[in-house]
């Protein structure tokens, strides 16, 4: 599954339209959970969703957009929307609960109808047990042009009986017809999807003033650690999918991955590592209280906005302390991850003390992730360049920890794709004692062709000093894990 997610681009099957549409749907649904009907943010999200729908209809020259659902994934025209599905757990779960096979959005769905739909999924779908009931509820709410589809019937190649002609399905909209071809969501993907869902839930709870579900978050951190131990490369590669907004949490998850991976190299204490994972997941929870306009501003922040933004560590600690029995480690990390070793940074502590090791771990992961991730306002940066900048940040970090972090993460992090001096493309599978010479597995021949299974080779690039032995020529930036 991970390969399939990562190979979307390579196959040239990038589906920006439907992917964006699902992303907008996720944003609208999350907003609907936080805000009441009249809130302008929800109105904006629904308006954007409507624009996305119109755009997708135009792009596909169709009057209806159908999203299939199966095995935790959303489908569009027979193709799974792998990356986008990772952030859409709540939607897929609702579809499962309603026993629906998908959703049909008609081009003529008005904003009011879309609003009624997101409101239904976000707040009122409990107890609804069939697509028929769900559609009845939607109709009652005035939503006539969005419909829950019945389960897909492989035998007939249709979505089953629908209530109107406009809702009849076409074969190409359905999930993979053959059960043999059906993809199953693998464990790393499931873990990732659950983590996103839990973070969305935490965000909603924070905004609503409700208690966080710390127990579930702890369980998520445990799952991530287990998956990292089982297959670091698969987990790190999953973290590539990102849409940088408040509700997909790519940053927090990647920070969690990197921090967990680093921490487990420093100690055998699994429980402590899991606590660090939880802290990393929650380190930016305070952003739930930062005004949306400030958080997502694409302009340079004013002093007042900057001050507002810089409050997120304080908010984070406060949100966590608002719960019974919070993990003090997570509270400290949320509060201190923007404080520096030399006492600079924010927030100002009355009596600044030393940063603890867990805080330093998450801080390193946070800065590293921010530098190497693509953002709307900046391109992705190579790990090596990120390291240079981090080294130049002087005593923001504890130097020996920074060195260890770089050694553990390597110049070519696990899960990244690299081009070898032989011209082949390989995947980094593990670090070695040499930062620039990891273990890799070849994937593409020098010609760019996918290697046959029997030609795939696991290489230890520490041998690169030998004459003509392959070495890393370059990292493929779009695929830095």
């Amino acid at each position: 599954m991970c390969d399939q997610i990562l190979s979307e681009d390579e196959r040239g099957a990038r589906q920006d339209g439907p992917v964006s549409f699902v992303d907008e749907l996720v944003v609208a649904l999350t907003n609907a959970r936080i805000y009441d009907r009249k809130h302008p943010r929800l109105a904006t999200a629904v308006e954007t969703l409507g624009q996305g729908l119109a755009s997708l209809c135009r792009e596909t020259e169709s009057d209806t957009v159908r999203l299939g659902a199966a095995d935790g994934f959303l489908f569009f025209r027979n193709r799974p929307l792998l990356g986008a599905s990772l952030a859409a757990r709540r939607l897929t779960r609702t579809l499962e609960e309603v026993e629906a096979g998908g959703l049909a959005f008609q081009r003529k769905a008005t904003q009011e109808e879309l609003f009624a739909f997101v409101h239904f999924v976000a707040r009122s779908s409990k107890g609804v047990e069939s697509p028929k009931q769900a559609n009845a509820a939607l109709s009652q709410a005035g939503c006539l042009h969005v419909e829950f589809l019945p389960p897909y019937e492989e035998a007939t190649g249709t979505w089953g009986e629908t209530s109107s002609d406009s809702r009849s399905a076409e074969f190409e909209d359905a999930p993979e017809a053959s059960s043999e071809q059906r993809i199953e969501m693998d464990m790393p993907s499931r873990v990732y999807q659950d983590v996103v869902s839990s973070l969305q839930d935490s965000m909603v709870r924070s905004c609503s003033g409700d208690n966080l579900d710390i127990t579930t978050m702890q369980a998520r951190a445990e799952s991530i650690l287990k998956q990292l131990k089982d297959d670091t490369s698969a987990m790190m590669r999953l973290a590539r999918y990102e849409r940088y907004d408040a509700f997909t949490f790519g940053h927090s998850i990647r920070v969690c991955f990197v921090a967990l991976n680093f921490a487990r190299h420093l100690t055998d204490d699994t429980q402590l590592v899991e606590r660090i994972g939880l802290a990393a997941l929650m380190h930016d929870i305070g952003k739930a209280w930062v005004p949306f306009e400030v958080l997502h501003s694409t302009d340079r922040l004013s002093d007042a906005e900057r001050a507002e933004m810089n409050m997120h560590p304080v908010h984070g600690g406060q949100i966590l302390l608002g719960n019974e029995n919070p993990d003090p480690l997570a509270v400290a990390v949320a509060f201190s991850h923007h404080r520096n070793m030399n006492g600079s940074g924010y927030p100002n502590a009355i009596h600044p003390g030393s940063l603890s090791t867990p805080t330093m771990i998450v801080k390193l992961a946070d800065v590293y992730e921010a530098l190497t991730a693509a953002r709307p306002y900046k391109p992705r940066m190579s790990p090596t360049r990120a390291y240079r900048i981090m080294m130049d940040m002087g005593d923001h970090f504890e130097p020996s920890m920074l060195r260890r972090f770089i050694e553990v993460n390597g110049f070519y992090p696990v899960g990244s794709r690299v081009k070898l001096t032989t011209g082949e493309v390989a995947r980094v599978t593990a670090q070695t004692d040499h930062m620039a010479r990891p273990h890799v597995v070849t994937e593409l021949a020098a010609s760019g062709e996918q290697l046959f299974r029997e030609d795939v080779a696991a290489l230890d690039l520490r041998q690169a000093e030998a004459k003509d032995a392959p070495a890393v020529a370059d990292i493929i930036l779009d695929e830095v894990a």
């Binding site: 080294m391 020996s400 260890r404």
Partner: protein, 646 residues
């Protein structure tokens, strides 16, 4: 902090000028350092700033020297040129090592089609930074056929660009007079740009590379190949220079032809090989950023062995960066100074400090349910590190100023909520000196953490009371009363068990507050001090609140009855009781107190006096009597009758 000793890590490795180095070389090296710094760090970085300053200083020094010693036109700048492995600054020439930063810079200049620059006296840091950013951007650009205009779209004040030109064999290409001329101009002619494009064109590069490999592998005659290559590079027809595609096609055709002939066989490497190899070396150095054939071995007729594989073209630059980064990383301390888990001494203190931050900064920290449990958990078994954090918030900060009272109070409150006030003593926040000093602030907390079962605590408390003094204690009255009232009964009893004059003030206060037992204990304490104070003193000077009086009296009666059966009430007491009985008021407790007082009088005949009799009679018959409740009047009559009978 290891070897960096608090400096930014990169700064530790910053360029340090050597006084013995020629200013020209220093200028060149500073240039390379600036470029390297900008390749690694943002413009605002200290290292960038430092190296820029050093470069401008070196430039000024070079100007001074050139103008003073050579009489160079002051309007002209200082030209820095790279030729092969040499950097040339005026008449100064320096051969640099291939692994040096100068070689690194040269590689970047080559990619930007520059042989060097001429730096003017008015050069400033901003302009040079912009120039360098462009230079570095060109190096990373994936543009396969950059024109000179594309490489250098804007002017950089104070920097005159010198196009790359061919050395030696390449220097005198026909039809390229402007190009072959001086290197003072910043804009080359059309021909120069064609040549630049030609030599960076992938088709041409591929062929040159193939040719080069063939020559290296061949051990036969190469005279023809050498000749043809010269022809390719020297005999470009003028017409071809007017059309880019025509030029590229023409050159490619010639190179293919040349390659074919080389493969077919040539043998005069010993005769012409050195010249040809030199030529190829130049091409390799200037356009492929890598070593050309080994000239020494060529000269002796040896065969060049190395044959780089595909994809190596960028290796040199990457390896250069990776190696330098590896070196930088390895300069960081290897021994971890931070531990994870039990060895992490900063963890718990950090967590406590964060919790206390919220205790101080939030208006209603008690609204954070997690805070109390968190502190309760963190302070269960505090060690020196944890106590040190508390001390910071409760005692003295780094500047030696006392922590603000509000701050301290907030911290104490949260510790109270967490049930950890005992730590206030453990961390020294409630030492006797502090308590006396800030009295009445925190006196209540101090009382709450004492254990009067312990001789040590009792002694310390006496010391504190002496330090405060009775007057301050009584003056503080109402402020400390709640704390005194909140004292555990056993604690009070323990405190008042042994009479000690230093606790006199406290005992007097206990008469005001507390329950009946406390008041009685305080009264007893005062009696046992053997001071000239009597029960009358207690009743008249302390003046317990009316509503508590009956409790007090009953307690006093219980006490007396319990302690001695032959106790004789003294006259003054009876007078006080008398006054009390006649006190104005009709509250139920007061009535009960009156009745108890009358019973007390009845119990102890010695209390019978003229005044008492008058009083009781007034009770019975006088104006007072009419206002008294029937039970009181009845009791008064009964007592009078009893006394009459007796």
């Amino acid at each position: 902090m290891g070897p960096h000793q608090g400096k930014p890590m990169s700064e530790a490795a910053a360029y340090e000028p050597d006084a013995g180095v020629a200013p020209e070389l220093r200028l060149a090296e500073c240039w390379a350092d600036v470029t390297k710094a900008l390749a690694l760090y943002p413009d605002s970085n200290d290292r960038v700033r430092l190296t820029l300053e050093q470069m401008l200083e070196a430039l000024a020094a070079t100007f001074t020297r050139h103008h003073a010693e050579s009489g160079v036109d002051p309007e002209r700048g200082i030209a820095l040129l790279f030729q092969e492995d040499r950097v040339i600054v005026g008449s100064f020439e320096h051969a640099f090592d291939p692994s040096s930063t100068l070689a690194w810079l040269r590689a970047r200049l080559d990619r930007s089609a520059l042989a060097g620059v001429e730096l003017m006296a008015d050069l400033d840091a901003e302009s040079f930074t912009a120039f360098t950013r462009r230079l570095l951007g060109n190096f990373l650009s994936k543009e396969s056929e950059p024109t000179f205009e594309a490489l250098w779209p804007e002017l950089h004040p104070g920097v005159v660009l010198i196009d790359r030109r061919f050395d030696g064999t390449f220097g005198g290409l026909p039809g390229m007079g402007a190009f072959a001329g001086g290197h003072g101009g910043s804009a080359g002619g059309e021909a120069r740009h064609f040549i630049t494009g030609l030599l960076t064109h992938p088709k041409v590069r591929t062929r040159l590379e193939r040719l080069r490999d063939e020559v290296e592998a061949a051990d036969d005659e190469t005279e023809e190949a050498s000749s043809l290559l010269r022809e390719v590079l020297e005999d470009v027809p003028a017409d071809a220079l007017k059309s880019r595609n025509a030029l590229i096609d023409w050159v490619c055709g010639r190179l293919d032809d040349l390659a074919g002939r080389v493969v077919a066989g040539a043998d005069a490497q010993q005769r012409e090989g050195a010249r040809f190899a030199k030529l190829l070396h130049n091409v390799s150095q200037q356009h492929f950023v890598r070593q050309g054939p080994n000239l020494d071995r060529i000269k002796t007729g040896a065969i060049v062995e190395s044959k780089p594989g595909g994809g190596r073209a960028r290796d040199a630059s990457i390896a250069d960066d990776i190696e330098s980064l590896t070196a930088e990383v390895q300069r960081l301390p290897a021994q971890l100074t931070m531990q994870l888990g039990e060895g992490d001494e900063a963890a718990i203190p950090e967590q406590i400090a964060v919790a206390l931050h919220y205790a101080i900064h939030l208006d209603r920290p008690e609204d954070l349910p997690g805070q109390t449990s968190l502190l309760d958990q963190l302070l269960e078994n505090p060690g020196p590190q944890e106590l040190a954090v508390l001390r910071k918030y409760l005692l003295v900060d780094d500047e030696g100023e006392s922590a603000a009272i509000e701050e301290r109070t907030a911290v104490i409150r949260v510790l109270e909520r967490a049930g950890r006030t005992r730590l206030l003593r453990a961390c020294g926040a409630l030492s006797p000196e502090v308590v006396v000093d800030v009295f009445p602030e925190h006196f209540g907390h101090y009382l709450s953490v004492l254990d009067f079962e312990l001789e040590h605590d009792r002694a310390e408390f006496d010391e504190v009371l002496r330090g405060i003094g009775s007057k301050r204690l009584l003056d503080a009255g109402r402020r400390i009363l709640p704390a005194i009232e909140a004292l555990d009964r056993d604690q009070v009893q323990r405190l008042l068990e042994q009479p000690d004059a230093c606790r006199l003030g406290l005992a007097r206060m206990l008469l005001h507050g507390g329950d009946r037992d406390t008041m009685v204990a305080a009264a007893t304490f005062l009696q046992e001090l053997n001071l000239p104070e009597t029960e009358a003193f207690l009743l008249t000077t302390i003046r317990p609140p009316a509503l508590l009086t009956s409790e007090y009296l009953m307690g006093l009666i219980d006490l007396h009855l319990g302690r001695t059966s032959s106790f004789a009430m003294r006259t003054p007491v009876s007078e006080v009781l008398c006054r009390h009985i006649t006190a104005v008021g009709d509250a139920d407790p007061l009535d009960r107190a009156r009745m108890e007082s009358i019973r007390l009088l009845a119990r102890y005949p010695s209390t019978r006096g003229e005044q008492m009799l008058r009083t009781l009679k007034r009770f019975r018959f006088g104006p007072f009597g009419g206002t008294q409740p029937p039970p009181v009047r009845k009791l008064a009559r009964s007592l009078l009758k009893h006394w009459k009978t007796a």
